[in-house]
């Protein structure tokens, strides 16, 4: 593990993205964050295609996934990730405004690793994002590269 593995933030709203980055900035992990603005871009990144054709391949340490995104929504992206043997080990954290039971149930059913509702209050939001970033990006040990799913 020579290179620092990135945190992938899928967030269509640039303000939310900026606030999230501001939060991570406080813990100096903002430079690890790659922001994608829709589901299609997330998949492009994960499959190293399109705009990310030339990137150094490798899975991110965690994916923060918004549910409601243009083109391909969060649920679809989650489904694709968890159905792909190579992408399946990536921890996926749903980071969304929705508290709807249906979304929660569906996300967990598809294999989401965590589900976080974005708090309205900025202080809470900051601490939530920070904690998430630190936990998944620093504390949590990601699965070794190239692990074939045991399932």
């Amino acid at each position: 593990m020579t290179t620092v593995k990135p945190i992938l933030l899928a967030e269509d709203n640039p303000r939310d993205a900026e606030l999230a980055l501001a939060a991570m900035e406080e813990h100096h992990i903002a430079d690890k964050v790659v922001v994608c603005h829709d589901g299609a871009e997330v998949l492009d990144y994960l499959y190293c295609r399109g705009a990310y054709k030339s990137r150094e391949c490798g899975n991110p340490v965690v994916v923060f996934l918004d549910l409601k995104m243009p083109k391909i929504d969060g649920i679809e992206v989650l489904r694709t990730i968890k159905n792909d043997v190579n992408l399946k080990p990536i921890p996926v954290v749903m980071l969304t405004s929705s508290r709807e039971e249906r979304d929660l149930a569906q996300s967990y059913a598809l294999g989401a690793n965590a589900y976080v509702v974005k708090p309205v209050e900025f202080q809470q939001f900051i601490s939530a994002v920070k904690e998430l970033g630190v936990f998944w990006g620093v504390i949590n040990e990601p699965p070794p590269e190239g692990t074939e799913s045991a399932a």
Binding site: R15, P119, V120
Partner: protein
């Protein structure tokens, strides 16, 4: 997504209504049912009062009654015809018997005259035969004559006269045998008992005549009753056909209506489902989209405060603070509204809830909000009630946290929770506090959405808690009400049906 399980009552009927046709004017009393017109308005309205079962039973009852009536009348008519035919044959036999007797009498009479003249005993054969047979003839006559006194009298007369005649003849025969032809010469020529003989003839003719007349009358009667029987049977058949036809029609009519109503209900259900889906989508987007800008407002205000904070004066700092607080408040409003909307849609669980346990848990969960305050709790024994545990928990959470909130200014806050069983089939639970209370004038506003009786700087809140309480209790089939007085506390009541424990 819960559609309230309101049972769709079938078009109810009033079983107490008297089944008389005289009730012909309920058209105004009964709102015209939305059914296809099948006759005059009053008939339609009258019919609408009867359930399909009652209509069918009524129809079949009429058919049955008409069958019974027709059967009884036909039986009576037929037995009249049968009786007449029996009388006819008796009468016929009587006439024949009379004929035979007359013939025998004539033979005997002429035979005895010849004997008187000739003295040849072979001429007496007919006389002897009739004398011998007369008792039997008499018995037959008695048997064949009906109960008509007129006829019986005539028969008795005939018997009497025959007896007289035969006696006179026998007398003459005896004289001839003892004293010879000369003694009876005068008698032989005109014949003895000429008077009786003629009378007998006359009586027999009368008897026959009478029998013929009554036979003719009977024939007329039989023809009449037969004709009326046939007419009655035909009428009955038509009536039954009509009745059965109308029963069929009404059943068919009813079924058609029910089918239409069912189709309409299904359509409404689909519409409702679509509307519910739309509502869900709406609340989803409220949940998701409305929160984002609030987050941004608060977030950027915080960022601004952080980056430019030191250079801002107190006024500007306070403005930023207000922006943040408003955003948070709106976030809270949205959250509460979503909970409220969910309470109306969410599928209800049906289980038995131990309210004692539930209240204990709620108070335990609220201890953080108490912030070290001491409250004197009085908790009575609460019943187990049928209901949704999560929803009822929300109810008590709201009521008890309200009580906690509104007693905050009291030096010795007291909260009492208890249950009573005032009416059969339901329990009443109350939550009483000695808090700030309220003016009974506004009691109707208490349970409304976003209705608040206090300013936000007095007591914070969004005004959705009691609306939620009312909605949940209504969904359980219960009621909510409140009593209060300014500065003297408030009592919130709720009643819940407990059908299972009350038989």
């Amino acid at each position: 997504m819960a559609i309230e399980s309101a049972t769709q009552d079938p078009p109810t009927t009033t079983p107490s209504a008297a089944p008389s046709l005289s009730e012909s004017s309920p058209a105004s009393a009964q709102p015209p049912p939305p059914i296809q017109k099948i006759g005059p308005a009053w008939l339609t309205a009258w019919l609408a009062k009867w359930s399909i079962e009652q209509r069918v039973l009524g129809g079949f009852g009429l058919v049955f009654a008409s069958i019974v009536i027709i059967s009884v009348v036909s039986y009576r008519n037929t037995s009249v015809v049968v009786k007449n035919s029996r009388l006819d044959s008796a009468s016929h036999e009587l006439v024949q018997l009379l004929g035979s007797i007359e013939e025998a009498l004539i033979a005997a009479e002429s035979g005895h005259r010849r004997y008187l003249v000739t003295g040849d005993e072979s001429y007496l054969k007919a006389h002897r035969t009739i004398v011998e047979q007369m008792p039997e003839y008499a018995r037959y006559l008695q048997a064949l004559t009906g109960p008509v006194p007129e006829q019986r009298e005539r028969i008795a007369q005939v018997e009497q006269l025959i007896k007289q005649q035969l006696d006179i003849e026998a007398n003459a025969i005896q004289q001839r045998a003892e004293r010879g032809a000369e003694a009876v010469r005068q008698l032989a020529m005109p014949g003895v008992a000429k008077r009786q003989f003629d009378e007998i003839h006359q009586l027999i003719a009368d008897l026959e005549n009478y029998e013929q007349q009554s036979a003719r009358a009977r024939l007329l009667q039989s023809t009449g009753t037969t004709r009326s029987t046939i007419a009655l049977l035909a009428l009955g058949a038509i009536l039954q056909l009509v009745l059965l036809g109308s029963v069929y029609y009404f059943i068919h009519h009813d079924i058609t209506n029910r089918r239409r109503a069912a189709a309409e209900l299904r359509r409404q259900g689909e519409l409702l489902q679509a509307a519910n889906k739309e509502l869900e989508a709406f609340s989803y987007s409220v949940s998701h989209d409305l929160r984002a800008p609030l987050r941004h407002i608060d977030g950027y205000a915080a960022l601004l405060s952080k980056t430019a904070g030191p250079s801002l004066n107190d006024k500007a700092q306070r403005y930023l603070q207000t922006i943040s607080e408003s955003a948070k408040q709106m976030g809270q409003l949205i959250d509460d509204l979503l909970v409220f909307s969910r309470m109306g849609r969410q599928e209800m669980l049906r289980s038995t809830v131990n309210l004692n346990q539930l209240v204990k848990t709620v108070i335990h969960d609220l201890r953080l909000d108490l912030q070290g305050r001491t409250i004197s709790w009085t908790i009575g024994s609460l019943p187990d009630v049928p209901g949704d545990p999560a929803m009822l928990r929300q109810v008590f959470m709201n009521l008890i946290s309200n009580a906690v909130k509104f007693t905050a200014t009291r030096p010795t806050p007291r909260i009492e929770i208890g249950g009573t069983r005032q009416f059969p089939g339901e329990v009443t639970i109350f939550v009483r506090d000695n808090g700030v209370g309220f003016d009974m004038q506004y009691v109707n506003k208490l349970f409304g959405v976003f209705q608040r009786l206090h300013r936000n700087d007095e007591f914070e809140g969004t005004g959705i808690g009691l609306a939620n309480v009312r909605r949940i209790i209504h969904r359980h089939g219960g009621r909510t009400w409140a009593e209060g007085k300014i500065d003297q506390g408030a009592t919130f009541y709720l009643s819940l049906p407990v059908k299972r424990t009350v038989s």
